[in-house]
Every structure is written in structure tokens, then in C-alpha cells.
Amino acid sequence: MKTIRKQRLFLIIAMVAAIMGAVAFALNAFNENLMYFYSVTETVNGKAPEQQAFRLGGMVVKGSVKRPGEGLTVFFDLTDYQSSVTVNYTGILPDLFREGQGIISTGRLNEKGVFIADEVLAKHDENYMPPEVAESLKTAKSQAD
Amino acid sequence: MTFSEFINMSGYGHYVWSSFGITLVLLVWQVIQPINELNELKRKISQSNLRNTKRR
């Protein structure tokens, strides 16, 4: 390669590397703001904002979904397998909302430590399979237990 | 599976079909557009060539 081309190649590699480095530092500095939600443990430990609304993410505990009345009000527990928090929500739940599934909810904690939600979004996982396969996995798992 | 079941997609029909429909329309348009542009360009160039030869 001729020297001038080598120089240009080197210059471009240096430029891209410098930008990558700068962006990496910036992203690291704003890491907290880039998190879409707080985990349950963070919320219980008081890391989540107290006075304002924030997003809380976790798994819906199996068997915890309760509807006290005829209306759209629902109570359920969220967990990250370390701590758990009770969520109270009135409104239409997304189609994927079910026990054992991940959700992200916007709202605020009240003085009793119950999360009063304005919005509930379902977070689906990266697994895709037909119902029969899911069923057989379930049976295999329960036999193993 | 019946045809109406296929269209209905367990109730998600309008989500599924609008996704596939919009994708198809955009992809087809994106093929036609450069072909038309090239034909138009060729026509323009040949016209300006004709004009130039007449002037000479």
C-alpha cells in the first residue's frame, strides 16, 4: 500500500476508535438514565425516586393476581426473586399479562409501600415455541422436580 | 385451518396483515422507483442528444 493510502486508512481507524471511546464514556456517565426501569430490589431498597413516578420491572408472582371487585382494579405481586412488592392497577392489561411473565409498570409508591400503577406493559421473553412444545417442557420439568 | 381462521389470525389479523401489507407495498415500490428513474433518465439524455445533433 502506498504511504498516503496507509495514512488515510490509519486516520479513519483512529477517528472511528476515538468516537467509539468518547461515546462509551458518555454512555457510561448516563448509564442510570438509559435504564428503562428499576428492579424490585432497587425499589425496596429505596434506590427508586420517592416523590415522582418511575418505572418498575419484575415478574408477576404466580397465584398473586387478585381482583377485589367486578371492575378493572387488580392487585398482584412483582418479584425479581430477591424481594417483592405489591402493585395496584386499574385499567386494561396487555394481552401478554399473565402470572409468571415479566411486566414493566409506571407509577409511584404510596406510604404503605404499595406501588400504585398508571400503566402496565408486558415484557415478553426471547423464547418462541409452539404450544405443544411448551406443554411438553412443562411436564418434563414437573417430572424432574 | 379454514380460510377465515387464517385471515383472523386468532384475533390479531389486522396487526399481522397490516405489518405484512405495508412491508410488501414499500418493498415493491422501492424496486419500481429506480427502474422508472433510469428509464426517465435515458429518455432525457437521448432527447438532449437529439437536440445537440440537430443544432450541429
Binding site: R5, V16, E126 | G11, S19, Q30, P34
Partner: protein, 247 residues
Amino acid sequence: MNPVMKWIHLLGSPPYFYRFSGKLLPWLSVLCIILFVWGLYGGLVQAPADYQQSDAFRIIYVHVPSAWMSLFVYVTMAVAGAIGIIWHVKMAEIVCVTSAPIGAVFTFLALLTGSIWGKPMWGTWWVWDARLTSELILLFLYFGVMALYRAIEDKRMAARAVAILALVGLVNIPIIHYSVEWWSTLHQGPTVTKFDKPSMDASMLIPLLVMALAFQLYYCIVLLLRMRTELVNRERNSKWVNDLVSP
């Protein structure tokens, strides 16, 4: 020079490239249509419904290939731009500038179909999480490249400016890919492109890979079509273009 290098040099000649791509295009088109029909039939008819998402998961067959291509086209554009700057290869410059609108369409489709999928599944059309936001920035990068190319009169200068912008924007590509692992997002983690076995049943995965291949081939076809148009436009005063248009 060995024959392969000789042929690559030959492809750098506009009239040869124009003739060669003209011969190649019908074959590519037939292959692409076959793959699309196979992938669509597999995805819409053969693949079973998902155990959680039922038939709504079928949007994956247009969403995921579009999203993959939005990243692939960007990398191609930036690499071609770099080759154009370093070695002054005209064809690489043209690959760079003609890829931008194609990439923009793929990015737009990924965002739109993702939004249509998100409404019934997540419960919202849009959230400002790291994955969705970085993909939106990608769309604006493509728009920026297209606008910059149009704004500069001298097309060789324009191609150089565009290549620099594309290279700067390259930093966004790993951010998009790893956003779901680095930060907590509403968007789920990778299914196919992780190091483990893909967490997708084979009956669903095969149509997805066929669709991905179809999209790849489709990109090649549209790229060739756009390159031909760009070449004729740039070389409108040359002899080969005159021979081409004269009846």
C-alpha cells in the same frame, strides 16, 4: 494479476458493470421471489402459533429481517465509504451513497412493524427504551446521509463527506445490538444472534432464516438497480451512455 482480481477491476468500469448487472438481475430476481414465497408460506401458514403470543408473533417474519438489514446495510455503507476515501474507488462511493435510502426503508419498516407488534403484546406502540431509541437514531443517521449527499453539488466531494458521516455513525451499530443486554429495556433480548442455541423452535426458525436470506437478496437487487441509475446519471456525457440511449 490473477483472474479474480482482474475481474474485480473490470467491474470497476461503468459500462462493464452496467452490462454485467443487467445480466445478473433477472436471475437474482427469480431467486429472491422464490425465497420470499417460501419464507412467507413457512411463516404465515406452516409455522405453528407461539405458546404465549399466539399468531401475533408472525410479525417477526418481517420485523426481524428488516431490523437485521437496517444494521447490515449501515455497515456496508460505512465500509464502502471508507474504501472510497482510502483507495478512491468510484464504485465503492456509489455503493455507499445508494445504500442510504435502502437502509432507511429497512429501518423504517423495523420501527413500524415493531410498533404494530408492540401494541397488542406490550400494550403500547412506542417506549423510549434504549433499543427503540437507538434504532430511531439509526433512521435519522440514514436521513442525514441522504440529505448531506443532496446538499453538496460536486458529487465526488459529496460522497467523501457522506462517507465520513457514515463512519461517525458506525458507533451506533454496537449500541443498537447490545442495548438489550447493557440496559434494562422493554424490548426482549436476542433470540437468534446469541452465542447459545437459538431459543426458537426449528419450525419457526427456518422460515425466519429464509426470510432473512430473501431480504439480503432483495437488498442486492435494489442496490444494483440504484447503482445503475446513479452510474448513468453521473456519466451522462460519456460515450457508453450515449451508445446506451441511442436507438
